[in-house]
Amino acid sequence: MRTGAESGREIFMQGYRHGIPIGLGYFAVAFSLGIAARDYGFNAFQGFFASLITYASAGQYMGFALYATNTTLAELVLLMFIINARYILMGFALNQRMPEGTPLRTRLLVGSCITDEIFGITIARPGVPTPYYTFGALIAAVPMWALGTALGITMGNILPARIVSALSVALFGMFIAVIIPPARKDKAVLGAVAVSFALSYASVHLPVVSELSQGNRTILLTIIIASVFAILFPRENDEPSGGGEDHED
């Protein structure tokens, strides 16, 4: 394991540092989630609790909205399965990087930390995914998510819109920092990123596709684009890395 020289504590702290910009982005997004949650009948503690244990943006937004419509628990579960189905793909991508014999415990711990953002930084990190890293990031980011939700519920529009606007870019900046360095090194990744931008933009405006939820559009485009690139530009076998780049700290 390439990270053998680092102690668990060092890896945890690295994850924690990388989780801070994620947390900033979460805070801004959670704030608007909180404003919606209040409209759907949740109090600040319930919002905090829900965000702390669910930590799923689109999923929670849908879940909160559904609550206001007197849904059944079965419908809730079905909707969560559909809207969070991309987490299954992310789980496969992370487990693919873990050697045979990795304890189920380790696999479950890494999987439990999956969010779009934590997955992104974990897959970009060279070597085998480790729960030290993912939990470091989770512990930096999720409290901000929960706090943002609770503050959105209690304080509504007290934070100036300009600040929320600026903070909301932090998440995307982080995504970009994850995808661009490998795109620079690998032309196929660069092509995949460019095609993804273009088709994602198109899908927002196309009939039928634009009516899908954002989560479902994401998973549909991911399956299509990644499949096409896998066929056109297959990888050599047994490349352990996801093409990731070392981030400086």
Binding site: H18, N84, G91, S165, L167, V169, A177, V193, T218, F229
Partner: protein, 101 residues
């Protein structure tokens, strides 16, 4: 009758968690299939790219500020800046531009 809010929240969290660990419960070793390997190699970049654009332009008050942040972040990441720097540069770009836009 309204479902108890805490029961509802717990079920929401549990269903979400099941999606997260589904692959962990199934996979015992890396898949050898070349297509599947290649597919998984591209998944993260495609997913994150799809989620970034055009969402970044829609997240800011002024779409122009979001577009500028996109360009600044891509340039910073291209020239080797790390996660935190890129994220902060994006925020600062929006903060400054929205003073004028």
């Amino acid at each position: 009758m309204k479902i108890n809010a805490y029961l509802y929240i717990f079920v929401m969290a549990f269903a979400t968690w099941l999606m997260r660990v589904a692959a962990s419960l199934i996979m015992k070793k890396p898949v050898k299939n070349r297509f599947f390997q290649s597919f998984l190699y591209y998944v993260p970049y495609v997913t994150l790219a799809v989620m970034t654009f055009p969402a970044i332009v829609e997240a800011t008050q002024s779409p122009l500020a979001g577009a500028a942040a996109l360009i600044v972040c891509i340039a910073a990441a291209w020239f080797g800046q790390g996660l935190f720097t890129v994220a902060v540069l994006g925020c600062v770009t929006v903060l400054i531009l929205e003073l004028f836009l």
